[in-house]
């Protein structure tokens, strides 16, 4: 009987299992396998290269710069987005007129596909675009934004936060709303100041969604691609050349698919290492 059940279950599961295996798991394994091979012109085909692709990468100046830029970007963008999403979630769960409407305006950019957002911001950041229009109104000098080595990462972070903060805020609002109203109100009656109430009452109670947001946000930011490809092409001087874009150019502009596969493996390993580190940290201070 149990065996028969297994066969029927398998029939229902088969299409999805084939999809997941072929479209998710096989390519992941193939990236690892291919990263140990190289194309040989002499012998006309693929030959085993051991760690050759990896040592090539590690000795490549552009790759090392790309890792550095990606780490710097990671260290900056994630704390900013998590803190801003949390503050906004607290703000928009207070009882105040118009709260729902304002919250909706913050969430709206979720609907815009990231590539479309990048196109929009490419016009905003033009020398004669909206951003400099705003600065002019405030009496500030015009800025180069995407064409300046120092400003390109902050400009990308601003655009990515416009896209992402509303989305992450939704998880935190759901978390805050799980906190019983009495608990939130009691803190108010205690006369706890708004700041202390936030830190000592709300923060510990939304640890789980907060941890989820931090990890999921980190993973998505390590895979940022569209804004780099559309706005900066990794420039100026490689200062916005995030790993995901470097993999893409290595695979299709430089055409070295095996080294690109090795770089994919490094990117995923880096992601796992950072996420594992975050889990440790989050567990450590419990």
């Amino acid at each position: 009987m149990k065996q028969r059940q297994g066969l029927i279950a398998l029939a229902f599961l088969a299409p999805a299992l084939v999809c997941l295996a072929v479209l998710r798991i096989v390519p992941a394994i193939s990236a690892v396998v291919e990263s140990f091979y190289t194309e040989s012109l002499l012998r006309g085909g693929r030959v085993f290269a051991g760690l050759g692709n990896y040592t090539d990468l590690l000795s490549n100046k552009d790759f090392r710069q790309s890792v550095g830029v990606t780490l710097l970007f990671t260290v900056l963008v994630n704390p900013i987005q998590v803190v801003v999403s949390f503050l906004l979630a607290v703000l928009f769960t207070q009882k105040a007129a118009g709260s729902k409407l304002w919250r909706t305006l913050v969430i709206l950019p979720i609907a815009t596909p990231p590539a479309v957002s990048a196109v929009i911001w490419s016009v905003i950041y033009r020398p004669d675009g909206l951003a400099n229009g705003v600065l002019e109104r405030l009496g500030l000098p015009a800025q180069p934004f995407l064409t300046s080595s120092g400003q390109v990462l902050p400009s990308l972070i601003l655009l990515l936060s416009w896209i992402g903060v509303g989305y992450w805020m939704l998880f935190l609002i759901a978390g805050i709303q799980e906190v019983p109203v009495e608990v939130r109100e009691a803190a108010l009656l205690d006369g706890a100041s708004a700041w202390r109430r936030m830190v000592s009452v709300i923060l510990p109670l939304v640890r789980r969604p907060l941890a989820f947001v931090l990890v999921a946000d980190t993973v998505s930011n390590l895979l940022v691609f569209a804004p780099v490809q559309i706005l900066t092409k990794g420039g100026p001087n490689g200062n916005s050349n995030l790993l995901m874009y470097d993999v893409y150019t290595r695979a299709y502009a430089i055409g070295d698919i095996h080294v690109a596969q090795a770089e994919v493996v490094i990117l995923v390993a880096l992601t796992l290492a950072i996420v594992a580190g975050q889990f440790r940290l989050l567990r450590g201070d419990e």
Partner: protein, 271 residues
């Protein structure tokens, strides 16, 4: 007093987030030649008293218009096929006990822990070998097996009481009948939540369509828009109209199913 200042603060934040979209909307309603005419900031930067739909009518016959139709087609196919595949898998996991169930469930979870964009490049070289570049099949396929959607549907299916299934079996329903006539009708909210997930995955994708479908017949909306913007003498009126259309379509879908959207977001975050 405190409530008023909180409300004002919320308003300032909300409007700041909204300004870029308002600016895009306004400029989609004026000729492209005027895009940069109003940038000494004034109310006219964000409002147009004599709106014209010229950009939108030009959009219909442009590459971006065609690409938007492709996006709709590809997303719709993904939702329909993907829901069938994912719901049936979730049923297999929820309704039966069999050896290896834990293992199968593990594969499902593992598959959504590997972010799709990271394996897009190795997968695209496989698709090249299989001659799936520049085909709708190639564009739709990666969207239909969604581990997250299977997970969500399984959680919901587990709540369906076993007595209902037994009663259905006694009435002579086969297992497919149980799935089709008992599980599916009871699971509307979960199906809509999973459908939204499949739709947004496909509508928002960029890396994959850039790798796999860039010829004129198969190009998708976001890729076509970014090509248009990359031209030297881009008509920004057209760019903005395209951006508005590509944003409004998912917005209408999300707004229509808002309840389920928030539900699926929060349930995936809290578990």
């Amino acid at each position: 007093m405190r409530r008023v200042s909180l409300s004002a603060l919320g308003g300032v934040v909300g409007i700041l987030f909204f300004l870029p979209l308002l600016w895009v909307l306004t400029n989609s309603l004026r000729p492209g030649s005027e895009t940069f005419a109003h940038l000494t900031l004034s109310w006219q930067t964000f409002f147009e008293l004599k709106p014209t739909l010229h950009n939108y009518s030009a959009l219909i016959s442009s590459d971006v218009g065609r690409a938007t139709l492709n996006s709709i087609l590809v997303s719709a196919a993904t939702v329909v096929i993907g829901l069938a595949v994912c719901a049936s898998a979730a049923f297999g996991l929820a309704a039966f006990t069999f050896r290896g169930r834990g293992l199968v469930f593990g594969i499902v979870v593992l598959s959504f822990l590997v972010p799709f964009d990271a394996i897009a490049i190795p997968l695209s070289t496989m698709f090249r070998d299989w001659h799936l570049t520049n085909t709708f099949t190639g564009l739709v396929l990666p969207g239909i097996g969604n581990g997250m959607a299977i997970f969500l549907l399984r959680q919901f299916f587990l709540g369906i009481p076993a007595e209902l299934v037994e009663a259905g079996r006694l009435d002579g329903l086969g297992w497919f009948g149980v799935f089709r006539w008992i599980y599916l009708p009871l699971s509307k909210p979960a199906l809509i939540g999973a459908g939204l997930m499949l739709f947004l995955f496909q509508w928002q994708s960029y890396v994959w369509p850039l790798l796999i479908g860039t010829d004129a017949k198969h190009i998708l909306g976001p890729v076509a828009l970014s090509n248009l913007q990359g031209q030297n003498f881009a008509d920004y009126g057209l760019v903005f109209a395209g951006a508005v259309v590509l944003t409004v379509i998912p917005l209408v879908v999300i707004a229509g199913f808002q309840r389920y959207f928030v539900q699926s977001v929060s349930s995936s975050g809290l578990k």
